[in-house]
Amino acid sequence: MLGSGLLQGLKVTAKNLVGSFHDPERLTTLEYPEQKAKLPENYRNFPFLVSENATDPMGTLRCVGCQICEKECPPQCIYIEKSKDKKPDATGKMQVYPVVFDIDTSVCMSCQICVEVCPFEAIKMDQVFEIATKDRFTALLLDRNQLAKPNSYYHEIHPTEAAEVDARLLAERKAAEEKAKAAATPKPAVAPTPSPTATAPKPPEAPAAGGTPAP
């Protein structure tokens, strides 16, 4: 009969009207500034640079200024100048370091490609999203001082991923040390210094292992 469909519709909306007062499924909104949704571990926003410790972020940056991310970044929002000299990194090895490392977050599209291509686990995705500023120019151009965040922070926001990365780095370091030791025992004069450029070795699973391991 004419109108039955209309009445049915009224029934559904009435159900939702009443349900919104007692059924959490029917009132799904969060009161944002007071209540915050829990960000999933994989959530990504803008990149940051991982440094080994918080007290000396510039001295312990993992980044070696290899400029791979700068080349691969689709919107070209990264700008790097690498140093002419070498400085000891967190492990004490002499490394080139980025003198300038800028990310223009007004251009960055949070695609995570820089993270995937980085062979040194030096750049990771941050989860800070309340970054509105009144200055659309320089406030959105982050330099390396603003980008550097300690590894502990990385553990805080991406615990699973960070643990994997740490384990991998540790294994790499150990392997390198043993290799060096093995190399040092017969011929102490020639210590192999791995080149800090794009050809640096990277574990094959690294690009794919952005998140949790396969169950």
Partner: protein, 258 residues
């Protein structure tokens, strides 16, 4: 199952005695080979492809243009220069070290919804890239070409005769160039932004000589381009330019950062 592309070519040649049909091999793993049709009978051939009971390519999925300029042709002949024998692709790569004039190409991907086969890829090639850029339109054969051919016209500059409504589609009507051509130079318009990239800085200098934005740009640029000035970024010079753009070398503290 659909007949092979060679058979289609042979039937087309038999049906249109004066026509040209060339099989173009695709050396890649996809092995999607294509037919280049001569322009003089292309529309009739398209009609044949659509209405032939064995082919019934009633659905033209994709229409696009490709620009092959003069210089690049030496490198890219692997893909495009036909293999007369239709044999394996390797042979082609070695023989094509010759300079060809550039041309524009329109590629049609045809499928059959009735017989559920495809694709048959059809290519039309213009004589050159300047004055002989007219190819017959397939819009009368497949309506789906209407907007896509307009797009090819807009972005590549291929003209389609018999197209019912050949206007620019994505760019505005007053636009003159064809942006998808390989030799397209983007217009020199520029809005100042504090990016450290060298090319943008060069542009900035050209557009804002000496005064105005040159000051903040120079500040940013100097800081980034001379290692000695790297420390300047950590200081906080506030630069106020004549245009009222105020820039701080140390950006505002990020709120919400733990």
């Amino acid at each position: 199952m659909m007949e092979t592309l060679e058979q289609v070519r042979d039937r087309l040649l038999a049906r249109f005695p004066g026509g040209e049909v060339t099989l173009i091999a695709n050396p890649g793993p996809a092995a999607q080979h294509s037919l280049a049709l001569g322009l003089n009978q292309a529309a009739a051939m398209a009609l044949f492809l659509r209405d032939d009971p064995d082919l019934r390519l009633d659905y033209c999925s994709n229409v696009t243009g490709v620009d092959w300029p003069e210089k690049e042709i030496v490198e890219s002949t692997k893909v495009t220069v036909p293999d007369p024998a239709g044999g394996p692709a390797k042979v082609v790569e070695q023989k094509t070290k010759r300079i060809q004039p550039g041309y524009l190409e329109v590629v049609y991907h045809l499928y059959s919804m009735a017989l559920k086969h495809g694709p048959v890829i059809v290519r039309l090639r213009t004589g050159n890239r300047h004055d002989q850029v007219t190819v017959p339109s397939f819009t009368p054969v497949w309506r789906s070409c209407e907007f896509q051919e307009r797009e090819v016209f807009d972005l590549f500059g291929v003209k389609f005769s018999d197209h019912p409504d050949l206007r620019r589609i994505l760019m505005w009507d007053e636009f003159t160039a064809h942006p998808m051509r390989k030799d397209y130079v983007e217009p020199d318009d520029y809005e100042w932004e504090p990016t450290p990239h060298g090319t943008v800085l060069e542009k900035a200098k050209a557009h804002y000589p000496a005064t105005a934005v040159a000051a903040p740009t120079a500040a940013v640029g100097a800081a980034h381009h001379t290692p000695a000035a790297a420390a300047v970024t950590t200081a906080a010079p506030v630069v106020r330019s004549d245009t009222g753009l105020e820039t701080r070398a140390t950006p505002a503290p990020k709120e919400g950062t733990p």
